[in-house]
């Protein structure tokens, strides 16, 4: 998990699609893309804007994509 987290935060300069994020499958990816979160680095931006608060981020992710608690946690 910490490796996944390391990959996630090393993303600013990457260009991976949002579906590259663990826990984000096609369906969730599609919903996020529709709201402009098509790249992993945009989702990282949101995480940073939420002050890296995992709870806030999970709550946002659930609202934005309908992810369940487990997916949001991933």
């Amino acid at each position: 998990t910490s490796q996944k987290h390391r990959d996630f935060v090393a993303e600013p300069m990457g260009d991976k699609p949002v579906t590259a994020l663990s826990g984000i499958g096609e369906a969730l990816g599609k919903k996020l893309e529709e709201q402009g979160f098509d790249k992993a680095f945009v989702v990282l931006g949101q995480f940073l804007l939420l002050r890296k608060d995992r709870e806030l981020f999970a709550e946002w992710l659930k609202d934005a994509s309908g992810a369940n608690a487990r997916q949001a946690g991933a």
Binding site: G36, G45, Q46, L49, L50, R51, D53, L56, E59, W60, D63
Partner: protein
């Protein structure tokens, strides 16, 4: 609650502080989350 959506980002930020809701900057992409949390807190 119509009144929340008509508030400025700054006003929302102050309300979040008043309700003790931890938050980052209120910007386009985070605003709807914070409005929802404020509605819950006010309910």
């Amino acid at each position: 609650m119509a009144t929340l959506s008509s508030k400025s980002n700054q006003e929302l930020s102050q309300l979040l502080d008043e309700y003790g809701i931890k938050h980052g900057p209120v910007v386009g992409s985070t605003r709807s989350l914070y409005e929802k949390k404020l509605r819950d807190a006010m309910a």
